[in-house]
């Protein structure tokens, strides 16, 4: 998750196409094959089915942050993005998760059929084991897509650079 979160951070914080393609190329060079596949899917606005609805996300996040729900809602109203609010409000813990992007996606797919209590426990554990930006990306995987202004063409270009296969063939 560390590498994927760093990639999203770079893509999110630059308006320059060259920087984005460079960051993606660098990421693809080192990512495992399952991570590559999931990255392409996620950046093409495909994501695993939503395992938890946002009402429960809000409730469980406020519980973990030890604040009343109304205070969470006020903060969300001001921050304007649910995943960002959750990432800001929950403190980092000392332990850090080293699970990869594809491991997380796999867990989320499995999570959908779990009980509410299991879902709550899973989120409470994992929210705390990530740093701020990873927690933001992790929650985005649940709540919505990554709108980071990246066309299919740019992604293909980056992948082509990384794996050394011609752009046209890849596309």
């Amino acid at each position: 998750m560390r590498n994927f979160a760093a990639l999203i951070k770079t893509l999110d914080s630059s308006n320059k196409t060259s920087v984005k393609v460079e960051a993606l190329t660098e990421y693809f060079l080192h990512a495992s094959d399952p991570d590559k596949v999931w990255t392409i899917a996620l950046l093409s606005h495909r994501r695993p089915p939503r395992p938890v609805n946002t009402t429960l996300l809000r409730l469980w996040a406020s519980e973990l942050a030890n604040i009343p729900l109304w205070l969470f809602e006020e903060s969300y109203h001001i921050v304007g993005d649910l995943a960002e609010t959750i990432a800001l409000i929950i403190p980092d813990s000392k332990e850090h998760s080293e699970k990869s992007l594809s491991e997380y996606v796999g867990e989320m797919i499995a999570l959908k059929s779990k009980s509410e209590a299991e879902k709550r426990l899973y989120l409470h554990e994992n929210w705390q084991m990530l740093n701020y930006y990873e927690r933001f990306v992790f929650t985005k995987l649940i709540t919505g897509s990554f709108r980071i202004g990246l066309s299919q063409k740019l992604m293909t270009r980056a992948l082509s650079k990384a794996v050394g296969i011609d752009e046209d063939v890849l596309a």
Binding site: N15, A65, P68, L71, E74, I78, L88
Partner: protein, 345 residues
């Protein structure tokens, strides 16, 4: 009910017994000033009382004023009311005002932060019955990282920009933030240039604090001098002709507002560093608790939300309106709103 020791009227926070205002926003006779930011230290009062560190700042900004300087903790009594100034840790000279009359103690925090920045005299919680606290960042979404971590990120960013042959332009408020950044910039990386407004204020403060050397940017400064260097500038310099001389450059802002992704994006700044001179959520809660106050008056910032939460915790908390909304850090919000309007046009 007996008269309140301090009331909020149309001119400021007023102590009728002593005929003294705290940080008044309209001209008055006697004004105690917490710190040099323009929404707290205004022009036109007859007599100013402030910590002596603030005197050069006030004179620089307000010209020839009649001002008396006080030490930390030095008491002075006016018509039976005892006043003293205590460090608030917001910027150099920033003070809380303790007001005592017949055994009843009120404290006005001014603007404050709990982290010791190594420049401002560190904040101390003052025991009181009634606390008037600011709430600029009174939301649980605000959680600051230690200054050392943020400054390390800033220096890493600078070194990286230098390696790419770019100028690093860092925006921070002229009084306070700019000097805090300057103090911890690693001058081994390269030269530090300053915008005139930052340089003027830093010059004033060099008599109190040691800072790394800076070079004032003038008309004569050569374009070739900039790549690899650091430029400290006020946020208002962003998007002006002045900055073009630094091309190729990258921009960053250091402010509590940078905690929000949207804040940085809306202002079209390349990088945001979360560094504030105000308390974060935990800092506010901890200091309220440490004062032992039962009654809390919440002023500028997210005061409605913060006071509602304090009431849940069992405090007698209310909100009062002030005109400190123009805080130099809060101005960034106004800028954002303006920027949004511009985008809509």
């Amino acid at each position: 009910m007996k008269n309140k020791l301090l009331v909020f009227n149309d001119k400021g926070i007023y102590c009728a017994q002593a005929d003294v205002y705290l940080d008044p926003w309209r001209p008055v006779k006697n004004a105690i000033i917490t710190h040099g930011h323009s929404d707290h230290a205004r022009f036109g009062h007859r007599y100013y009382i402030t910590h002596h560190y603030n005197i050069p700042i006030l004179k620089h900004r307000l010209g020839d004023i009649v001002v008396t300087g006080k030490e930390w903790g030095e008491t002075f009594t006016i018509n039976g009311v005892t006043f003293s100034l205590h460090p608030a840790g917001h910027i150099i000279g920033s003070s809380q005002v303790r007001v005592e009359y017949k055994g009843e103690v009120w404290v006005f925090t001014g603007d404050y932060k709990t982290e010791d920045d190594g420049i401002s005299t560190p904040y101390e919680a003052i025991r009181c019955h009634t606390l008037i606290t600011e709430n600029t960042f009174g939301l649980p979404a605000f959680r600051w990282l230690p200054q050392a971590e943020v400054m390390q990120d800033i220096n890493t960013w600078w070194a990286q920009n230098k390696a790419e042959g770019r100028t690093s332009v860092l925006f921070g408020y002229t009084l306070g933030k700019a000097q805090r950044l300057l103090k911890y910039l690693d001058s081994d990386i390269g030269p530090i240039y300053t915008h005139g407004a930052v340089e003027n204020m830093t010059e004033v403060l060099r008599t109190i604090v040691d800072f790394p050397p800076t070079i004032r940017i003038t008309q004569e400064t050569k374009k070739e001098a900039f790549p690899g260097s650091m430029v400290l500038a006020p946020p208002s310099a962003h998007g002006t002709v002045w900055i073009r001389k630094m091309t190729p450059y990258v921009t960053a802002a250091a402010s509590g507002w940078m905690a929000f992704r949207g804040a940085r994006r809306r202002r079209a700044i390349d990088k945001g560093f979360v560094l504030s001179d105000h308390c974060d959520w935990q800092g506010l809660l901890e200091s309220v608790k440490a004062t032992g106050a039962e009654r809390i008056i919440c002023t500028h910032g997210y005061s409605d939300i913060f006071s509602a939460y304090l009431r849940e915790l069992g405090y007698d908390a209310v909100t009062e309106n002030t005109q400190y909304e123009g805080d130099e850090e809060e101005i960034s919000v106004g800028d954002e709103k303006d920027a949004e309007k511009k985008e809509e046009l």
